[in-house]
Symmetry: C2
Subunit: 160 residues, 2 copies
């Protein structure tokens, strides 16, 4: 029996997501990528409308993929202006996950780097290459936020 | 024709609300308080569940009072730990208001103080007394977050 993990990299302008299926026994077969991408909202639209888009699209995403577990990035501080916008978007993400009563795991960026590369201060490119390698992808998943979301999902798998 | 204004003081532990009816012409009759209070969520409950409570209760509040206009406090920084929690709750508030397509106004605390007392650095007690006076209340509305929400609603009225 596989476990489906949804990784989410929260943001207001761009929310990355990545869906993977993980085998019950590591021996049996590898982890499989199901889908990845982003929910984008235009900068000039009022914040409330952008949060509605995230709310609706995230509902659709969960209805479509029916994940067993969700992983999001633990909050850390960006530049100040962004922090509030990201935190507001993150509030909507947390709301939707709670509406579905989905088990939620949070990892810091350092935990993700450590899990994927064995080194907590690895750079973005190293993490992305590890994501592509683990998922047998010919190319680095794009955009970056989708790759970050897949990295979060893989971290949950590695930690089991 | 009266305009019904809902004031909201966003927070995760306590969200204050206040509903007032304002006359079309200032001469005609005074402003009337309709209701005020708080939506509270317990600190030990997971954040997602608390955001669900805010989402559901705010929907009920808007369904019940059918405001024409909503006023919330413009975001400003609290202590850092709180900022993220308040911003996440504020994201859910902004979402719900957008779902109802309600006209939204934001004021800073200084704008509220200025409007109610004529002095942008007035203290809490002065603002609360102005709220009680304007609304012909015998007592200061409690708790504080409800009084703050009424002050926000009154500020919108004064600025018209």
């Amino acid at each position: 029996m596989t476990t489906r993990i949804l990784g989410i990299d929260p943001g207001l302008a761009t929310l990355g997501f990545g869906v993977i299926d993980t085998p019950a026994q590591e021996a049996e077969s590898g982890v499989k990528v199901i889908d990845f991408g982003v929910i984008s909202t235009p900068a000039k639209t009022p914040v409330g409308e952008r949060l509605c888009t995230i709310y609706d699209d995230l509902h659709s995403l969960i209805d479509q993929f029916q994940p067993d577990q969700v992983v999001i990035e633990k909050f850390f501080f960006y530049r100040m202006g962004n922090t509030i916008l990201v935190a507001q978007a993150r509030g909507v993400v947390m709301l939707v996950l709670a509406q579905y009563q989905l088990p939620l795991t949070e990892f810091t960026p350092a935990q993700v780097k450590q899990a994927l590369t064995g080194y907590g201060k690895a750079d973005k490119a190293e993490v992305q290459q590890a994501v592509a390698h683990e998922l047998n992808l010919d190319q680095i998943p794009r955009p970056d936020d989708a790759a970050d979301a897949l990295a979060l999902a893989l971290t949950a798998w590695f930690q089991r």
